[in-house]
């Protein structure tokens, strides 16, 4: 099974440089106060040499001011982690003017918002942190934040409060009062604001497209289900079965079907066919129930993102259970054909012969327990036309002793009679 490519193969996005970022470890001196993204204000305590996993490393030792936690960073990594100096008074003034300024509509797409906020916290400097606080605060006025964003809001507020406190030299509680005074000014208070600084530019991320190989799409798993298509009939659709020249290959033809998997329940003839793999996938993609409720529409819109965030379970399922959903339209196509008697017989023949239970159960065996449940109704569906079609022949051979409801049994016994002959 081919999974998504490992993330470390992808090139790292280039963040625009932020003012005050430390690019050279030589700039650091013991006693300096720096801001470690997502960690807070740290004080440099010195440089250590340690042997880790057989490598002799030179490490910068820092102490987080908030709780005294030790942070060790290899000298070579200092330039890449976004370590920056504590914001200056001028920068901080800009932050407060930004906080007090009018805010545009917050980003409503939670995926974009969550990703952008994470980027801002890492590489946006103090203004990036302020943007996250202000953005989520503005959103909270529209609706309560979901759990994860509530935590993100609290974390970013915590980082901002401590950096403001260090930068302005005031206690954190007072720094928080300053921030909220700007965010939620009391009635009657109007600030004389300067134009706020330019917001942090985030890298433009192209949407990834997952390319499928033809090997994956060629194999529909029809053999495993005991279905043999007549010669010259491709499973690509009615046009393909007509054997028209110049048609695209099977893989190309079926590629759009994968995109339409979400719309499977709407395909006629599949009403009684549950599509549990989609139901299983949904909670994996969106962890919070809160998120899932209002972001279903986003899932449909943003296919590439859904594939990025899908859990391993959601990725594996379609491969093991791919044959079942794709077969759904097939019986519908076969049903339309009875107008041509020759082709109908051809299709019925292999199904009549041991179209059988063991063959139908085959794909279910390696699949997960959930997939088993899915495979059974699919097998039953396939067996039905086989059992129904020979029904008119059966009463001719055997007397009408047996009730019509047991029409499946004669179909199973037939091959045995044939053998005796």
């Amino acid at each position: 099974m081919k999974g998504p490519p490992p993330r470390h193969d992808q090139p790292k996005e280039q963040f625009p440089p932020v003012e005050g970022v430390i690019t050279d470890a030589a700039d650091l001196e013991p006693g300096d106060r720096v801001v470690y993204p997502n960690q807070g204000v740290c004080r440099i305590t010195g440089v250590e040499r340690k042997e880790i996993a057989g490598q002799r490393l030179e490490l910068v030792r820092m102490e987080r001011e908030e709780d005294g936690a030790a942070v060790l960073v290899p000298m070579a990594k200092v330039s890449t982690i976004g370590l920056r100096k504590v914001a200056t008074g001028e920068q901080m003034e800009g932050v407060f003017h930004y906080l007090a300024a009018q805010y545009d509509d917050p980003e409503l797409d939670w995926k974009i918002r969550h990703r952008d906020n994470a980027d801002r916290l890492i590489a946006g400097g103090v203004l990036g942190v302020a943007e996250v606080v202000k953005g989520l605060h503005a959103l909270s006025r529209i609706r309560p934040l979901p759990t994860k964003e509530r935590e993100q809001y609290d974390n970013s507020r915590h980082l901002l409060v401590h950096e403001v406190a260090v930068s302005l030299g005031v206690p954190p509680s007072l720094a928080e009062d300053y921030i909220d005074y700007a965010l939620m000014p009391p009635v009657g208070v109007v600030f004389k604001l300067k134009p706020p600084p330019k917001p942090v530019e985030l890298p433009v991320r192209p949407r990834r497209k997952v390319t499928r190989t033809t090997d994956e799409d060629d194999d529909l798993g029809l053999d495993e289900l005991g279905i043999a298509l007549p010669d010259g009939e491709a499973p690509g659709g009615a046009a393909a079965s007509a054997g028209l020249p110049g048609l695209p290959s099977l893989g190309e033809e079926l590629a759009p079907l994968d995109d339409l998997m979400g719309a499977l329940p709407a395909i006629p003839g599949a009403e009684d066919m549950p599509a549990p793999e989609l139901e299983d996938g949904e909670p994996a993609a969106a962890e919070d129930a809160d998120d899932a409720s209002d972001e279903d529409a986003d899932d449909v819109e943003d296919d590439s993102d859904a594939e990025e965030t899908a859990s391993p379970a959601a990725v594996e399922l379609p491969v093991s259970s791919r044959p079942a959903p794709r077969l759904v339209p097939e019986p519908a196509r076969v049903k339309k054909k009875p107008a041509e008697p020759v082709k109908a017989q051809k299709l019925a023949a292999p199904a009549k012969a041991p179209a059988k239970k063991p063959a139908a159960k085959k794909p279910a065996a390696p699949a997960k327990p959930t997939a088993k449940a899915k495979a059974k109704p699919a097998a039953k569906k396939l067996a039905r036309p086989a059992a129904k079609k020979p029904a008119p022949k059966a009463p001719a051979r055997a007397p009408a002793k047996k009730p019509a409801s047991k029409a499946v049994k004669p179909a199973a016994k037939k091959p045995a009679k044939g053998k005796k002959k």
Binding site: E176, Y181, A182
Partner: protein
């Protein structure tokens, strides 16, 4: 343990009710630990008391590890102005620390009617929960129904609830559980 210290005369019934409210909010024992005088050095030229200086200069109260001391006063407090001006001071706390001070000067008039006294007590409970919340590392909350919402916010209802939102309640419980004692 939360120890309430009064810096001005307060009704005993109010303090008893406040103790009960704080116990319900944080699950910590609360008691009235006596009265102290306001340090005169902390008073500024405008008659207001510098909140930071007041907390630093005030006579200490005997405490044990993780005890929180809550000072109550009816004097007006001031804080250092920030980049956009001086925020109104309802309370001042040592974030994640030990001491906090709450002033009742901005509260609605206590009055003599039962309703006005009840409203005053409710506001006192709300502001003390807010101050003690800061002592347990809680930040301000955007939810106007939460006691951690800024006290000057225009979104705050006239008679705000003296309760924490579920997020802050869980966070404070976690902090209290992880406390040294």
């Amino acid at each position: 343990m939360i120890r309430i210290v009064t810096l001005s005369p307060f009704d005993e019934v109010d303090i008893a009710l406040l103790s009960r409210t704080l116990f319900q909010a944080f699950g910590l024992g609360t008691e009235h630990a006596g009265s102290r005088a306001l340090p005169k050095d902390a008073q500024g030229e405008d008659g207001r008391y510098d909140a930071m200086k007041l907390l630093a200069d005030i006579d200490p109260v005997k405490t044990y590890a993780d005890d929180k001391v809550l000072y109550l006063t009816d004097a007006e407090l001031s804080v250092r102005p920030g980049p956009l001006g001086e925020p109104p001071c309802w309370c001042y706390t040592e974030y994640g620390g030990e001491k906090a001070i709450v002033t009742t000067v901005r509260f609605p008039e206590r009055g003599v009617t039962e309703a006005s006294i009840e409203a005053w007590r409710k506001r006192l409970a709300r502001e003390t929960i807010h101050a003690v919340g800061h002592l347990w590392d809680l930040h301000h909350c955007y939810d106007a129904r939460c006691a951690m919402h800024p006290s000057w916010s225009p979104g705050l209802p006239a008679s705000p609830e003296a309760e924490l939102c579920s997020f802050d309640r869980e966070k404070s419980e976690r902090r209290i559980r992880l406390a040294k004692t």
